[in-house]
Every structure is written in C-alpha cells, then in structure tokens.
Symmetry: C2
Subunit: 417 residues, 2 copies
C-alpha cells in the first residue's frame, strides 16, 4: 500500500540512540526489592539464563554485601558462562567496593543519593563529601580492572548544577557510565529529555537511565532518554521492583519495536518474552496483569465492530505490533452487542459457511439482539451461524429474518437446557 | 526543610494546561470494548454514579446505534441527574447523528478514521468526502443544540496537512472540541507535544486527546498533550478498552497529582479511587494488577534497607504520592535479606522494645541470616524482637551475639513445630 508522506517521520538525530541501545535488566537486583520477591538460588540462576537467552546485554545483581547468600548466588551466576555482562549494585562506600571487587562480576554499579531529601534523611552527606567518596570509590574499582557505573539516586530532585559537576568529575575519573535514576517516579518525558540532552554535552562516557513507574511514565521516559542520547536502559521482567516497580522489559520492548522493528527483532529473542514473564510471575506469586504489554491476554483482542472489520481487511489498521513476532495470536471477538457484520462474515468464512452479505447482516442483527441479554461465547456464535446456515439452505423459512429468529430461538433453547 | 533551588521547577507556560484540564471518562464506551466487558444496565448506572461522585467532568457512553439496549441504557444514565456531562460516541455519519440527537445526552463525540490505513481498509472514503460528511454531520448536530466533538481516528498515522485542514474546517463550523486519537498506541511523548502544539495554533476550540497504551506511553502522552495545550483527556477506570486499553484514570490521577497536587486533590474525590476500581474489576472479572498505580497492593510498600531507613525518617524521600491522600497506607517490609537496621529500629520503637543501636544491629544481622534461608513474616520478626529483648533484659547471655543467636534458635524451633 502507499503510505502518505508524513512530517512525523523521524528526522535523523545524530544524538538519538533509539536504534542503538543496551538493556541492563535488573530483575535480580531492583526486582528482588519487589514486595513479593524472595528468590532462591535456583530461581536466580533460571532468571539469569533466561535473560541471557532473550538477549539482554547486561544483568544487574544484588549487592554482595546485602547478605552472605546474595554474595554466593552472585558467584554462581558468574560461573554460568553467560554471554551478557554481570554487574553488582553497591552503595558508594569503600566497605562495599572492597567486597565488590573481590567477586566475579564484570562491573560494579555504584549509587549515592544526591537529592536534598536523600542527603538529609538517608546518608546525611554534603555534596563535597560525595565528590570525595565518589573519587575514592571509582578510582579504587578502576584500579581493580572492573567496569564501573556511577549513579546519583533521586536525580530528578537533585540540584542540576551539583549533579552536572558530580557527573563531570566521575567522567574525568574514567567511569564507564554515569547513571540517572528517577528513584521516586516523579520524572516526566520532556524533563527527562532536557536533562539527558544537557548531560550528553557534559560527559563523554555512556549514560544509563533508571525509571520508576509511580506516575506511569517509566516506558515513555526511557524512550525520551534514548532520544536525548542515553545509551543504557534499566528494565525488570514485568517491571517488578520497589513499590509498583520500574520500566518493564516487555513494555520497553513494545515501545522500541515500534521505533525500530528490525533492530529489536534482530537483537532480542522476542518469542521468549511470554515464558520469561510466566516464570517470574510464578516465582513471585503474582498474576500477569490483564493489561500487560504484548503478553496480556487481551493485547491482541479486537472487539468493536468497526475495529474488527478493518483488522480482518488488514491487521496493521489497528495493530502496531505484529502478534506473530512475539509468538502471540490475534483474536477477533464477535459474540457481543458491539459486533459488526464484517467480523461475522469473516467467522462464516473460517467456518466455510456460504452466506450472502444480506444474510450475514440479518444474523448479525440477531447476535446483537441476543448479546444485549447475555454475551455469547464463540461456541454459541458458531452454533448459531451453523443452524442459521442450515435453515437458509433448507428454504423452510419464508425469509432470512424468520430463519435468523428461528436459529436464535434454537440457540436460546439449547442454552437453557 | 529547605529544598535546593532547582532549574527543573516548572517555568510558567501560558499554553500548558497541566493545572487546568477536564477528564472525559470513557469506561462506558471505550471500556465496553474491553474483551471482558459486558455491562448490565445496573452496572452501567453504578459506574456512571461512581464517576460522577469521583468528580470527572464528562462521561462518554456507547453509541445509541450499537444496539437497542445501548440506547435505552444511555437514556437511563441521562435520567440520573448527574453533575457531569454525558456524551455519546457516534461514527461520522448522518444515520448515527440522527439517532444521537434524539437521545438525552449533552453532546455527541463524532469520530472518523483519517489515516491512509483506515481510509483504505475501514471506511474507504477520500479526504474530500470526509470534509463533506464532517460538515454535514457537525452542522446538523449543532442545529439541534448539542455539544459536538469531532475527532479523527489514528491521528498519528494521518497526514499532518490533511489533519490540520480538517480540524480547521470543523473548528470554523463551530465544534466545541476537536479530538486527537492514538487509536493504535504508536505515539510517543515528544511527537504528541509537537502535534498538539501545532494544532493549538490552528484551532480556537478545545482539544481532546485519547491515547491507547500498547507501547506504554498512554499516561505520559496525556501529560505531554496537556503541556502542549490540550484541554480534555480521555480515561477509563483501570484503563480498560480495546486491546490493553487506554490512559487509566488512576495512573493519570497519579501523574497530575505530582504536577499540581492542590488542583487535583480539590477537584477529585481521590479516596474513592480504590472502590471504583474494585467495582469495575469485579464487573469485568479481572484482578487489579499487582503494579496498579496508587491502589496496587505494593504501591506503598518499601523493602530495601536504605529505602526503609529514609522512609522512616521522612516519607517524602521515596514517596512522591502521599498514601493518606488516596485513603491508602504505607508498609515498610523488614523480614528479608535486604533489610536494614534502621527499619528494624523503627519496628522496635513501634513495639516499645528498648534496645541500643548496637543491639539492634546485632538482631538485624540475625534477621538477614534467617531470611537468607526463608523470608520472615511480620509476626515472626516481632516474635524474634520480643524474645531477643527479653534475653537482653535477663542478662542470661554473655553478649548480644549470643542473645541474638539464642533468640533465632527459639524462633526456628517454634516455626518447625
């Protein structure tokens, strides 16, 4: 088909990384902070392997300082021989760094709170002290040959000048990445774009972003961060994390698939998404949300008559994601009062029932009438269509309205038995 | 507390409506297109009343043309004497308009597909035909004294010039609002901002926006649309709608509360949110998602040690939403391997157990050790703290480590009985 020329087509922006990014999945760190998450060693190994098979570039693990078991589990994960890099999260403190460098991870993700809130109510340190501690910790980790990421916490409620000064300082010390974290979930897309664009001009290293979802912007903020020049995005399977969590791997994948389908489908094993989500949902004892991105049970269900008609003609009319690319299937729902005759016609074709358009319109009227009382399951609709088709063929009824009414009566009779 | 001056503070933008917007809740139209939604008359009346009590400015209802029952139900809703305005959704067609103007709603929400996809695979009309039909339908509805909204469908895959020409045309005919709809869920925040900012310069009427959530941007897009000058946002309770739905009322409320708390808390009855969501979840037979905005069961649960410590000192450190404003409560989880001694100290204070910081650090070590094997419930933690406190008071153990170990053994013993 010919697509109209659209001024919305992406204009090439040399700083945008929407076609060039890395995923740091932190289900085994942020995800472990989810209220219901208490991963056993075996579960952690399964999650790490699955993420590696899916194709994420990095996985982040809980601090080895958190508990003895955490440290041991990290070692076991590092011995799996995964393709992805392994990172461990630590506080910006020499005690933690000393333990971290002795473990087998590829890198350490250092974090310190920089907002006035966290400086006052969490660690109590001044910005001057933060600069000093950051220097000591970063230099030490680098001297041990590990990759190092230095992140502020609650970045969007930190003073911009303080923040840029700190990032430039650690950039000059040679960190691999600086991290920007919306720890409380307050950031919104254009604010994210502005901060990351500014930061892009201040540091030479990579930029990692971490977005909580308290106010519904975690996926959108990740997208805008990449547009502005961020290079790494933190995700969790199903978005699990502190409170209501962070950018979900599935939702982020959906967003980036729409931005650059070839890049995303080449890079990640999208057919695995549903199994990975089911596994983690099982481990943390939650239901997959009804409205989950891509794998939610209604993500590819079409219902309204006008939608159903167009979807049958060409799925791209109402689908921006091809269900097949994710190992999913489309479902067009027809047994309800919002149905349309085109959807019913499509079902007749699937059932190999030959009816004229006029005949189909008549039985559609009957479906709407019946569904006004109680929605019909697909078996009931199929049964109704078959009975109607038989009646039409038999010519025992004076017209199609009579045949449709008789078929409807028969179905109602059956349902009440 | 003193907050650092921040360059992120919102700069007044005269076109921004983040402190001046209307909600059009469409649970009774878009929501009815959700796969599981088959509302009875009684359920529709309950939803309409609840939304009115919550304080939404408009509710949108299913087309009276969809079925006879739909038409009758709309009449019943209009007879409830609600404060909010009632709208009915119709296709841009004189047949629908003629039925619509005879019903009791305050206005009609007219829609037509404008993307090349929908023009080819749905209604088959050219843009010229769309201009003509739009003029006829809009003029007719206005002549009957009803409010009229004219919306394109799939706006973000429509040709920009076609779209602006159409909107200017209906604006001059005197529509109350033009509608922009991301029908397939492909739009992203900065694209939304650009389109709405452009449109704001082209039409004088209000601007309504409707965002699907297939790629996780429905809340963020709504926010950016308001920043750009949109006036009305479509929502659904729990976001239910076609596929995985649209901007959820709860998520949108969370976003706007953070943008302008006083405006949102004055305007809407936020304490009702949980009950409304539970009611609708019950009607459509779904679970509230574990990660639902505001009302999800872990939205205010804090787990990591460093988070718990700060939250206890000052909740705003890690909370951008005050749970009390939504009739919710905060929960700090402590019986797990990521716990910290400040969280344990806070619990001791709640239980009125007097222990020194050193003693608390020792029992925290024990909690982490036990939780490495199996997470502890709050009753187990409380029991452990009480036993430990008794042992410390009794002075029967040579030091606090011995007391903590003995208390741990006693709790393990109890659990295995």
């Amino acid at each position: 088909m010919s697509t109209a020329s659209s001024p919305y087509a992406r204009i090439t922006d040399l700083l945008s990384n929407i076609s060039n990014f890395n995923v740091i999945d932190t289900t085994l760190r942020e995800g472990e902070q989810f209220a219901n998450a208490f991963f056993s060693t075996e579960q952690k190994l399964k999650i790490a392997k699955a993420l590696d098979d899916f194709g994420v570039e990095y996985i982040e693990l809980t601090s080895p300082v958190a508990s003895e078991q955490s440290r041991e589990d990290n070692e076991k994960i590092c011995q799996l021989g995964l393709k992805c890099k392994k990172l461990a999260h630590i506080r910006c403190h020499m005690d933690d760094a000393k333990v971290g460098v002795e473990t087998s991870v590829d890198g350490l993700s250092v974090v310190i709170g920089t907002s006035s809130y966290l400086r006052k109510f969490s660690h109590g340190k001044s910005m001057e002290t933060i600069y000093q501690v950051a220097e000591e910790v970063v230099t030490f980790i680098k001297s041990k040959g590990k990759e190092v990421r230095f992140s502020s916490e609650d970045s969007f409620r930190s003073d911009l000048v303080d923040l840029l000064k700190l990032y430039r300082h650690v950039d000059k010390l040679g960190v691999n990445r600086v991290g920007v974290a919306d720890t409380v979930g307050c950031a919104h897309p254009r604010q994210v774009y502005e901060l990351i664009r500014t930061l892009r001009g201040v540091v030479n290293c990579d930029i990692e972003c971490h977005f909580h979802n308290d106010t519904g912007c975690a996926v959108a903020n990740a997208y805008c961060a990449l547009e502005a020049g961020a290079t790494h995005i933190d995700t969790c399977i199903l978005g699990i994390g502190e409170r209501n969590g962070i950018t979900p791997l599935g939702g982020f994948t959906a967003r980036m698939y729409v931005a650059d389908k070839a890049y995303v489908t080449d890079k990640y094993n999208l057919h695995m998404l549903r199994d990975i989500e089911n596994m983690v949902a099982d481990f943390v004892e939650i239901q997959i949300p009804f409205n989950n991105y891509i794998t939610g049970y209604c993500a590819f269900t079409h219902k309204a008559g006008i939608h159903a008609k167009a979807i049958i003609n060409n799925p791209t009319t109402y689908e921006i994601l091809r269900p097949e690319d994710f190992g999913m299937t489309r479902y067009v729902s027809i047994g309800h009062r919002l149905t349309g005759w085109n959807a019913v016609k499509s079902r007749c074709e699937q059932l190999d029932l030959h009816l004229t358009d006029a005949e189909i319109k008549e039985i559609t009227r009957k479906i709407k009438e019946l569904a006004d009382i109680k929605p019909l399951g697909i078996e009931e609709v199929d049964s109704l269509l078959r009975v109607y088709h038989t009646y039409i063929e038999s010519s025992n009824y004076e017209n199609m309205t009579a045949a449709a009414n008789a078929a409807g009566d028969e179905i109602k009779q059956k349902a009440s038995n």
